[in-house]
């Protein structure tokens, strides 16, 4: 069952130098409970697509449905169903972990007791136990990231959007975060839509990869699938497939789809 589907989703920015087509037409289907890796070189349109799907940015073309809600007609429904963890996180450094979590829950219209209970539950679950009364600025990088994810999970969303969730984390924290994402999906059936620059992360975590370049999807498949198709075999490094697909290497030109 598709939990996200888009048709021709596009966004053009106006600039002084003329229109910039950041996203030119994304046709995408995400199944419920899937962990989808959304990859692409810098400037490919990953974050713009994510911002459209989370209602932060109105599309200039196309349509999309997220968790049964039409993106254009029912943005409030989309917001209720989704959690979004931006690259920069989004907590005030001077506020305590508890206050940020409870306020976040109440922004999603939980009652005060519900939000307080959920904050305790999530901090225990995400290894933030005992940090509830600390200011967010005192957390380590890995703890901060888990707090950001807890913020996105307060209202038990059906879909969790993660924008480059492990950027800046040490290897141990990255591995912990991968486990956490797998656990969220296993325990709650949450659909996870994540963008990343790290191919090892995409390879280890995602059921399926969608690769975008210059604002359109240029490849779509399981990691093994893409490696077989573009890099010569299922055991090839994903990096080779990625470079062949995005045309950023000396890979055989006939293996690279034309990215218009």
């Amino acid at each position: 069952m598709a939990i996200i589907s888009t048709a021709g989703l596009a966004r053009t920015f106006r600039s002084k130098a003329g229109p910039v087509e950041a996203v030119r037409g994304i046709d995408l289907t995400v199944r419920a409970g899937e962990i989808l890796g959304f990859l692409g070189p810098n400037g490919a349109g990953k974050t713009t697509t994510l911002r459209m799907l989370t209602t932060l940015l109105p599309p200039t073309g196309g349509a999309a449905t997220v968790a049964g809600h039409d993106l254009l007609r029912d943005p409030a429904g989309v917001r209720r169903a989704c959690g979004y963890v931006a690259q920069s996180g989004g907590v005030d450094p001077n506020i305590s972990v508890r206050e940020e979590l409870v306020t976040q829950g109440r922004l999603y219209r939980l009652t005060k007791p519900q939000a307080a209970l959920r904050a305790r539950e999530l901090t225990n679950d995400l290894g933030l136990h005992g940090l509830l009364d600390r200011k967010t600025s005192t957390l380590s990088g890995g703890q901060r990231r888990r707090l950001d994810i807890a913020m996105g999970l307060m209202h038990r969303p059906e879909v969790l959007f993660l924008d480059e969730p492990t950027t800046g984390l040490d290897p141990g924290s990255r591995a912990d975060l991968w486990d956490l994402v797998r656990r969220i999906r296993a325990d709650h059936g949450t659909t996870v839509f994540l963008t990343t620059h790290y191919l090892d992360e995409a390879d280890a975590l995602a059921d399926r990869l969608v690769i975008v370049d210059k604002g359109v999807i240029v490849a779509d498949g399981t990691p093994a699938d893409l490696k077989s198709r573009y890099a010569g075999g299922p055991d090839a490094p994903l990096q080779d497939a990625f470079l062949a697909i995005t045309g950023r290497s000396a890979a055989p030109q006939d293996s690279a789809p034309v990215a218009v």
């Binding site: 940015l57 409030a76 920069s88 989004g90 922004l107 999603y108």
Partner: protein
């Protein structure tokens, strides 16, 4: 959207920012410093001067200082949004179902509460300096401070969401606040001005607010001055909150 979620969302946002203010004594008291300095070191210069007004010079100066407090305090409110934008807080709130109007109202109501509190401190200091004015007039003055803060803070947040850098925001606000202060006759009444300046000042909306508060401080409530002041303040507030909500609803990349 129905009214109940709007009210509870507004209370939630107000609470968040009110707690933020209460954590900082500096923020609570700093805004009152500039008008207080004017009161102490400029006010005494006016006591013997003919200001073309009934009543004492304090009844002319204090209304001006109250609106100066609101003008400078509220205009710079947007700085907080620039900082929060950089932390990602604004965006994180905008992906929740919270009412867009509440995101604005919660903030500007906190600002109104803060600047009315500072206005009370200023009036207490002015009473020590020699101000005597009817209580009703003083309360009307606070209402104008609240309404002007609401308006200017809304526009300030809207501008901050558009400009997004302190380097762009600070000079833009200064460029608007200084002429507003001078042309509205905050320090000295515009009735002292030569004809051309007096005419020019009538195009500055804040002039009507200052005149109204001065009228209130003299105990004249049922006057056309009060009527114009009230209408301009209310109209400006409706305009500013509309603009602010629009920006909070649509602010993109």
């Amino acid at each position: 959207m129905t009214i109940a979620p709007l009210l509870s969302d507004t209370a939630l946002i107000f609470g968040r920012y009110a707690r933020q203010t209460l954590r900082s004594k500096f923020q609570i008291l700093f805004g009152v410093l500039m008008p207080l300095l004017y009161l102490l070191f400029f006010g005494p210069l006016l006591t013997g001067m003919p200001l073309g007004s009934r009543g004492s010079s304090w009844q002319v100066l204090v209304p001006g200082l109250l609106l100066q407090l609101a003008l400078f305090g509220a205009s710079f409110a947007g700085f907080a949004v620039i900082i929060e934008s950089n932390w990602g807080v604004v965006e994180r709130m905008r992906v929740t179902p919270v009412s867009r109007l509440a995101l604005l109202l919660g903030r500007v109501l906190r600002d109104s509460a803060l600047f009315v509190f500072q206005a009370v401190l200023l009036v207490l200091a002015a009473l020590v300096m020699g101000l005597r004015a009817p209580l009703a007039g003083i309360l009307i003055g606070f209402a104008f401070v609240a309404l002007l803060t609401l308006s200017l803070a809304s526009l300030s947040y809207a501008l901050a969401m558009k400009v997004r850098t302190p380097q762009g925001f600070g000079p833009a606000i200064n460029a608007m606040a200084m002429p507003s202060m001078l042309l509205s006759g905050l320090m000295l009444p515009m009735t002292l001005a030569p004809g051309w300046l007096n005419v020019l000042s009538h195009f500055m909306p804040f002039r009507y607010l200052v005149d109204a508060v001065r009228s209130a401080y003299l105990g004249s409530y049922a006057t056309t001055t009060m009527l114009y002041g009230g209408l301009v303040a209310a109209g400006f507030a409706v305009f500013a909150v509309t603009v602010g909500t629009r920006v909070f609803r649509t602010a993109g990349a």
